[in-house]
């Protein structure tokens, strides 16, 4: 077939070029060693957060504050479909970009020409959209060996052949009709494909699963809500609420190879009627440390006990080695939905310090300076049938949310989008919320509020010195991921559709480009044929589309300074033979 021939030629050319310009281990299958050394591989982007620490920091330095103003689009690609919103971080390996669009449609795109090599379309049964609290969005795929792993929205894990997108194996994660869906990029650690689940608003009992990378066999499952008798079950009442306890694991985790420890965040408890399940509700709103071989929990840290406010702690823990109060420290950092920024000891889960990110936090009067445990303001906890509680700060969309932060080790700065907004919550009358698989299981009516003219804050936090280095306000909420580079640039997008470059040291805006639809996805950078490129998906969707109407979209944009695109006969418009056959007399 013509396409296959073109692909072979392209692959051969690509591989030759790749071998000339880049180091070993970058062509062909992605190995465990490749993943373990991803942070040193400047040319490629092999996993969701670039490396297992989730820094989203690239060692590429061709683009700097001096030349980024000259950056222009090199090519773009429409992802078509139903414009359900794009939230993915693309991957780049061996000259090919791999990413998921809305509905977990997977694309493999040749980065030299912008040509789609293959794409994979899941087929879904009727009714799935009812299980997607926040739209048919999807956050990315994973690479290992010759496979591309995608967790489809209907809780099926597919291993696709990286060369042609054909399904090599499929593993059922769960039955989506019970409200369990999946939309995060799996994390591959050695031969474990580790995936978390969504469904915290549907009364699921959260868990992590690990599947064998080669065969798809289930290796382990660790629930994040204990059953009666299991450790932590005394933080739940002695009834059936643990079965619908939530604690979903809906964002990609991190991994520390030195200690062979997996770090994963958990979300809010089910239901939102916290007085229906008194107790701290472990392990909701926590960061867990686990053994990736067995799934066994090593320890945990809970940020918000008996959460009444949807303050998921699903955030990817960013693993940082730093110096705090003069002491070398192995830490993790998260900025939380609950409005605080935490720096924690990743060797044992103990609290180091926290910074208040949001003004006017009122669900708590403050955190214990030693343990970080919040003193709860009980007046801000809605009670069943007792009327609206408002304004609660921060609102349920959070002082920050799922969109990934970035960390720059040269500057010691953590870059995150912070949002300043509030909410009102009204808990239903007692007895009105009845669990039914697949139904929304919240029991609370909610209303988000603007609390002023400024919502978003692009903020740089000096980790070692425990302070904010700079802050750039934005009228709209920020809901896009960060990328920081050795060249001193911070890239992110906004709801107005602008893709932006800032000076990472000062926060000065250096460049922008209007992509035509809101940006909810995360940028990457890669090197191809000696040139640095930056790529971003643009397409408003997910939670921001609840609050702002704007043109929907679905585009992949690739930028560079004097970048190259090889159109030479390769293009995405394929003739439909039946409609336009070659004339034969």
């Amino acid at each position: 077939m013509k396409t296959a021939l073109m692909r072979c030629v392209l692959a051969a050319a690509g591989m030759t070029a790749a071998m000339l310009l880049t180091g070993p281990g970058q062509a062909g299958p992605v190995t465990t060693d490749d993943l373990m050394k991803a942070q040193d591989n400047g040319a490629e982007w092999l996993m969701y957060g670039r490396d297992y620490r989730n820094w989203r920091y690239s060692p590429l330095a061709e683009l700097t504050a001096d030349n980024v103003a000259k950056m222009t689009p090199v090519w773009s690609l429409s992802t078509g479909g139903q414009f359900g919103g794009l939230e993915a971080t693309p991957l780049f390996h061996d000259g090919v970009l791999y990413f998921s669009a809305d509905y977990a449609r997977v694309f493999a795109v040749d980065a030299r020409s912008g040509r789609v090599i293959w794409h994979y379309e899941p087929t879904y049964e009727d009714g799935l959209n009812a299980m997607l609290c926040c739209g048919p969005i999807h956050r990315g795929v994973a690479l290992k060996d010759n496979l591309v792993y995608v967790a489809q929205l209907d809780a099926k894990l597919e291993a696709l052949n990286a060369a042609d997108g054909k399904v090599v194996w499929e593993a059922k994660i769960d039955d989506w009709k019970n409200g369990v869906t999946t939309n995060s990029a799996p994390l591959v650690v050695k031969d474990h494909v580790i995936i978390g689940v969504s469904g915290g608003e549907y009364g699921v009992r959260g868990y992590l699963k690990s599947f064998n990378a080669k065969t798809g066999a289930l290796e382990w499952q660790t629930y994040t809500v204990p059953a009666p008798g299991e450790a932590g079950s005394d933080t739940w009442p002695k009834d059936d609420s643990w079965k619908t306890g939530g604690a979903p694991t809906w964002l990609t985790g991190s991994y520390d190879a030195d200690t062979n420890t997996l770090y994963w965040g958990t979300g809010n408890p089910g239901s939102w009627q916290s007085d229906q399940h008194p107790g701290d509700n472990l392990y909701t709103d926590s960061t867990l440390a686990l053994d990736p071989e067995t799934g066994k929990m090593k320890w945990f840290y809970q940020y918000t006990p008996n959460d009444s406010w949807d303050y998921d702690a699903m955030a990817t823990p960013i693993l940082i080695d730093t110096t705090i109060d003069g002491k070398p420290t192995k830490a993790w950092a998260v900025s939380s939905r609950n409005g605080y920024f935490y720096v924690m000891d990743r060797t044992n889960g103990s609290f180091l310090y926290a910074l208040q990110m949001v003004e006017g936090i009122n669900w708590t009067s403050g955190l214990d300076p030693k343990t970080g445990k919040p003193t709860i303001n009980t007046a801000m906890k809605p009670k069943q049938g007792a009327g609206a509680v408002q304004p609660i700060i921060p609102g349920l969309e959070g002082g920050t949310n799922w969109f990934p932060p970035a960390y720059d080790p040269d500057l010691g700065l953590f870059f995150v989008g912070v949002n300043q907004w509030g909410m009102g919550l009204t808990s239903w009358e007692k007895g009105k919320l009845v669990y039914k698989p697949g139904d929304v299981f919240m029991g609370v009516d909610y209303q988000m509020y603007r609390m002023g003219d400024t919502i978003g804050h692009l903020r740089a936090i000096d980790i070692a010195n425990k302070k904010v280095a700079w802050d750039v306000p934005s009228p709209l909420p920020l809901f896009s991921g960060m990328l920081v580079t050795k060249g001193g640039l911070l890239f992110t997008g906004d709801q107005r559709g602008r893709f932006l470059a800032f000076d990472a040291k000062t926060g000065k805006e250096l460049w922008k480009f209007q992509t035509g639809s809101g940006i909810n996805a995360s940028p990457i950078t890669y090197e191809l044929d000696g040139k640095q490129y930056v790529a971003i998906l643009s397409g408003l969707g997910g939670d921001p589309s609840f609050y702002y109407s704007a043109p929907k979209g679905g585009m992949l944009w690739v930028f560079a300074v004097d970048g190259k695109v090889d159109e030479g006969g390769y293009y995405n418009a394929q003739v439909i033979d039946k409609m336009l056959p070659t004339y034969k007399p």
Binding site: Q82, D126, N129, A130, C133, P136, V440, D445
Partner: protein, 119 residues
């Protein structure tokens, strides 16, 4: 009197298809037009409110959000029923609730949204 709950299994598939298809023949006579038999009935409205809270609110909120404001719907009764049962595949976002809500339950929701101007 509480409306009888008809589950899709109770209503045979053939009957359901006939019920739905029969209403959408363009130019069909007035005899064939489906209307909501529960409009204005308090029991149905209360039942419909509970269904709205647990299945519709997350997208349609108090008066429209990701989904349009159902309390201001200009759909006919039968269009409302068809949309909820079959979803809107063209736009792709409104899910098909036909396997999870019976026609009677959809009529209850409809009775609720017709009875007030917001949740």
């Amino acid at each position: 009197m509480r409306p009888t709950k008809l589950t899709p299994s109770a209503l045979s598939l053939g009957a359901l298809v006939a019920l739905l298809l029969g209403t959408f023949v363009p130019g069909g006579s007035a005899d064939e037009v489906l209307t909501n038999p529960y409009l204005g009935k308090p029991d149905a409205i209360e039942a419909g409110k509970q269904i709205y809270r647990s299945k519709c609110y997350i997208c349609h909120h108090s008066a429209g959000a990701r989904g349009p404001d159902l309390f201001a719907t200009k759909l006919t009764d039968e269009q409302f029923l068809e949309t909820v049962i079959n979803g809107r595949k063209r736009t792709g976002v409104m899910p098909a609730f036909g396997l999870r809500l019976s026609p009677d339950e959809v009529w209850q929701v409809h009775a609720f949204v017709k009875s007030t101007d917001h949740y």
